[in-house]
Symmetry: C2
Subunit: 677 residues, 2 copies
């Protein structure tokens, strides 16, 4: 059986599912004109951002395409096969277009589903949940379907994993900018809206008088929906590409596609089964769907392994990956869940002032790296040892297949994750459209389930990225060894490797710092604009006139795009510099350092941020003095600090690591030809 062809078949099936859900949501009636107007403001704002972002990224894609044509996989003047260079360019462009497309599809459905969910919340929680979740599932199915379709068809057409790497690079470099740009936008709007609205004027969140309120809702879409979609699109395709590099010489490509296709199939079944039945809570419904997906995946792949005669040991490696993914998700949930000790302790420490809020949050964030990194380490170690006895080269394949296992249920994960901003938006729309307290309460319940799952899926995403980048490192080593004709060794005691590692360590730190600076700078600009509107527009404070929403969106957009460029470009240039200074050995160290500090900082930032957010909510629920107390004020400061941590820098680090790894793999032959040391 040719599983690559089967993968294409399953991808098309997933497009049909996505289409069906899209149609199902679109045809839901919407008689409320006020809501329609709000929805269309958000939708227009989101697409305006995307348009601006993509129009700048097209220049980047153009420049990189030219560079690829000239230099990759080898300089065009030394190449025997110029067609390969051309194919890589096409494949790179295809990757970036598909990545952009999945972001656009996600935003398109999310900005319809948000209004419909708000409307359905009038009729009760079950229907509203289904609407919000199916909105997320459109994104999930589209993203995973597209990445699998792209990888499988490029493989069938060219049989050349380099081409798939270029495809992956296209997807990743777009994801880097989408994630970072969206992340800066969303936090710019969020912080500015909170500071001027909640803090200065004392008006509630999502109050329509606040000029930044629409920008805030747009941010949920461009940051959380489009950015996150691009991010997981890129992790998924990178894992497939890296595994392909390793699996091809072993003749195990068929197994790779089998597991990917069955993962997508399991996610489809899981997505259909996620609904509120009886008294089940929204968060239980989401988790049940995830667990069901896992069980189906285990069963289907076991059957396939048995009937197709794949190695059982590789199957075990994939299962270990999936299991450790779930465990990392659960431990992330421990550090950020609002019924757990860390959140309660941080909330308690808020009573002593914001310095203690920050110190305790950062401490827990640092601690949270322990289970995740040990989990990734064990997954890699065990799957390596499991597959080593099969034969030479299989040990490394074990590691990549364990990444594939972890990412198998990614369709379900994206659906859960995109559900979050949709219901968050629905809550905002319900508030802005005065749908009444009952509706807001339902929306709140849906939203809180979204936050809980978000913590789990984020942990999962970082875990998967961790294993993926290890396989990317392996792919890099494989590519260089093949070109050199001898096995390559990244010995830490080699000072070139160590030099690379020291530089690599600083890149995620510098990258995060630049993004946080970006949010800082940009939100201060937006605060100024909001102040201007309140001063210059008479009647705005009283709610008689509508604020100039569009101006706020424009400022946040322009600023976000301006700020994301240096961060992204520095990561890529640093890679090239290290490669041309220290050669492939320095790059091996560089990638290692990058992965190690990247994972640490990503866990720290995501978890500390989530923790502060939930500590604030915990206090708002009436603990430690409740809303308006001094503890609450301290918690709000913590939450503001956590915003760019968890939604801008933290989740962008994954993508940064992937991009840097892919740049290294693609430039391997150049580094071999030209380097100082």
């Amino acid at each position: 059986m040719n599983w690559a062809i089967f993968s294409i078949f399953i991808s098309i099936l997933s497009f049909l599912v996505a289409g069906y859900f899209y149609y199902w949501i679109a045809k839901l009636p919407n008689p409320n004109t006020k809501l329609n107007k709000l929805g269309s403001l958000i939708r227009k704002g989101s697409f305006a951002f995307l348009k601006k972002e993509y129009s700048i990224l097209i220049i980047f894609v153009g420049i990189v395409s030219l560079l690829i044509l000239l230099f990759f996989p080898s300089p065009i003047w030394e190449s025997n096969d110029i067609f390969e260079n051309i194919s890589m360019v096409i494949s790179f462009i295809l990757g970036s277009i598909l990545s952009a497309l999945s972001g656009a599809i996600g935003i398109s459905i999310a900005t319809i589903a948000n209004v419909k969910t708000a409307l359905l919340a009038k009729k009760g929680i079950a229907q509203a949940f289904t609407c919000g979740f199916r909105g997320g599932a459109v994104m999930g199915m589209a993203v995973v379907g597209t990445s699998l379709f792209g990888a499988a068809s490029l493989y069938l057409l060219t049989n050349n994993p380099n081409i798939v790497l270029a495809f992956s690079f296209g997807a990743s470099s777009l994801a880097l900018f989408a994630k970072a740009g969206g992340g800066i936008f969303t936090k710019t709007a969020d912080i500015a809206a909170d500071l001027t609205g909640k803090v200065e004027l004392g008006i509630p969140e999502d109050d329509p008088r606040n000029p930044a309120v629409i920008a805030d809702n747009v941010g949920d879409n461009v940051g959380d929906v489009a950015g996150m979609g691009a991010d997981l699109f890129d992790s998924n395709i990178a894992a497939i590409a890296a595994t392909m590099v390793i699996a091809l010489p072993l003749g195990e490509i068929n197994m790779l596609f089998c597991f990917c296709a069955l993962g997508l199939l399991s996610s489809m079944i899981g997505v259909f089964s996620s609904r509120i039945v009886g008294n089940r809570t929204p968060s239980k419904s989401l988790n049940n769907g995830t667990y069901l997906t896992c069980i189906i995946f285990v069963a289907l792949t076991l059957l396939a392994t048995y009937y197709c005669g794949f190695h059982l040991r590789i199957w075990c490696a994939a299962m270990i990956g999936m299991l450790i993914g779930v465990i990392i998700g659960i431990t992330s949930n421990y550090f950020t869940g609002d019924s757990k000790t860390p959140v309660k302790r941080v909330a308690e420490s808020c009573k002593n002032g914001s310095a203690f809020t920050v110190l305790s949050g950062i401490s827990y964030g640092l601690l949270s790296s322990l289970p995740a990194l040990i989990g990734i380490g064990f997954a890699a170690l065990i799957s390596y040892k499991l597959c080593d006895p099969i034969g030479e080269g299989y040990a490394i394949l074990g590691i990549s297949m364990s990444a594939i296992g972890m990412l198998s249920i990614v369709g379900m994960i994206i659906s859960n994750d995109a559900y979050g901003p949709i219901v968050d938006n629905a809550r905002g729309i319900a508030e802005m459209g005065n749908l009444g307290d009952d509706v807001i309460q339902v929306a709140d319940e849906l939203d809180s389930a979204g936050n809980t799952t978000k913590a789990i899926t984020k942990g999962f995403a970082i875990g998967a990225a961790g294993l993926t980048v290890i396989s990317l490192l392996a792919a890099f080593s494989e590519i260089v060894s093949t070109q050199l004709g001898e096995p390559l060794n990244f010995d830490i005691m080699n000072p070139t490797v160590f030099f690379g590692a020291l530089v690599g360590v600083t890149i995620p730190a510098v990258f995060s710092a630049l993004l946080i600076f970006g949010v800082n700078k940009n939100s201060q600009k937006l605060v100024k604009e909001i102040h201007r509107q309140f001063e210059e527009i008479p009647g705005l404070k009283e709610g008689n006139v509508e604020p100039e929403y569009k101006k706020c969106i424009d400022i946040a957009t322009v600023g976000a795009i301006k700020e994301l460029i240096p961060a992204g470009v520095i990561a890529i240039i640093a890679t090239l510099l290290v490669g041309f200074i220290g050669g492939v050995h320095a790059i091996g160290g560089f990638l290692t350092g990058n992965i190690l500090s990247g994972l640490l900082l990503a866990m720290l930032m995501s978890n500390a941020g989530g923790l502060w957010d939930n500590a604030k909510k915990y206090i708002e629920a009436g603990h430690c003095g409740g809303k308006g107390s001094s503890a609450h004020k301290a918690a709000v400061i913590g939450d503001t600090i956590g915003d760019p941590f968890k939604d801008t820098a933290g989740p962008s680090i994954n993508t940064q690591i992937t991009v840097v790894s892919l740049v290294s793999s693609l430039s391997a032959s150049l580094f071999l030809l030209y380097s100082i040391f």
Copy 2:
């Protein structure tokens, strides 16, 4: 010429210099009884802390001695030479005693020099400076003299670098607890005194009515003087021990001792030359002394290299180490100096609230890792490449000699560093003893010079630790290779190595988190006690009655010691666990991960902390709204967060890395015998 014997001679000379300075300060007249009383309170409190700390550490030293006797360098029942085990125990105990002793000497002189400096400040800045600086120099000469004396005499007696490693381990494990325990104590007292005094009551810093004010001054001594002394004692001896392991098979021990001895000699000359002449500012006088030391060291070692026929390439490696140390110090100064952009920007951002203070400080802290890590990387890479052509094994020797070069002027560095807390204390004593505004102004000027140099020396210390731990890693590899009889390879693509690296990365994070939690918890206890005193002691607020200073010291002491144990023990146990699970390969990765994330976090925490401290001072000097403005409040929050960053966790990470490296080297043979993978 036998430079080991010369080293002993120079060490004895340094003891004489220390003794002379001690005597010079002690015989300065002190007619002021009030000051005498304050000084004696601080002195008694400091020694009470030391006594309590050491009485607990004696148990730790006892347990570890037993373990060494039983297992190191190889299990006693398998050893051919039980005498070696016994020698290692003796050497370990000697190391810890000498480390404890240098802490005690430092405190002893610092708690005399502080009062005398305050008194001399009446007569003008020049004499006060000399007194403060010579107090620091006692510490500098004693610490470096002791470590060189210990290493040289143990080498001459046994010719066995393992014995010196055990000596180094004794010094380091004591330093770990001294640094972490002192760090928790000092920040507990500082934060509690500030929160209750400055924030709640609005009384000035160092007001004698505040019950924690003496504890705060004690903290400067036990944290900054004793802790820092133990820390640099340990870096210095670790660098010597690691280089000895590498130099012995190459027959280059003589050169090692030559450079160490000449470094100490240069520092002696530098120390004598540091004084205020004419209108020179205190900070200029400190820097001039440092630069002079460097120049003398360059000249002396060049002469020695020429006349003794050492390899000129190794001399170059040492010079590169020294040069890069100075560069790292200067870049640290850029990120924390109060006339530089980062401090001004952070102060500006304080106007928008404390969330922005924190975000911008952390971002700059993250950025600051870039020059330091790249500097360390280049120092290692260049010195390796420089020495590689000499012959096999020399490349690694180049790296360790570059660490020796960086640490050559450590005598001067410690003198500068210990000067800080002495003049800081003098300022406090001047305030508490009502010596008048003129005296306080002089003391302030001395203090501010201390802060500037502190930033430079801290960067220097981290840089030196970075190179030292690379040579410790090399020493570990050398030891294992010798025992295996074949070269060892820590290939990153080996998943056991990678597993170790992932675990290693988390250790500095967990270690820092536990220390910060410790400060958090402990200062909250102390705040309670201060509140109790203000409530229960009538007349305290009015200044009619003296507070119960001793109770505050006791609470801070007991808490600090209780909190430091888990952090220290976890680092050691994690090393043993990783070694017994993954063997020597996992340990190679573990040390790498530990070094990489340790350096990153150390730079982040030290520099962000220093930056916040100076941003606060910058605002207090009248910028951005000045004292009492909302920007100032935000800056105070930043400073409080920075306190445990820069004085507890940040500087303890170095020692944690050294301890873990030494545990690994000493346990190498055990890991070879017993490990799961």
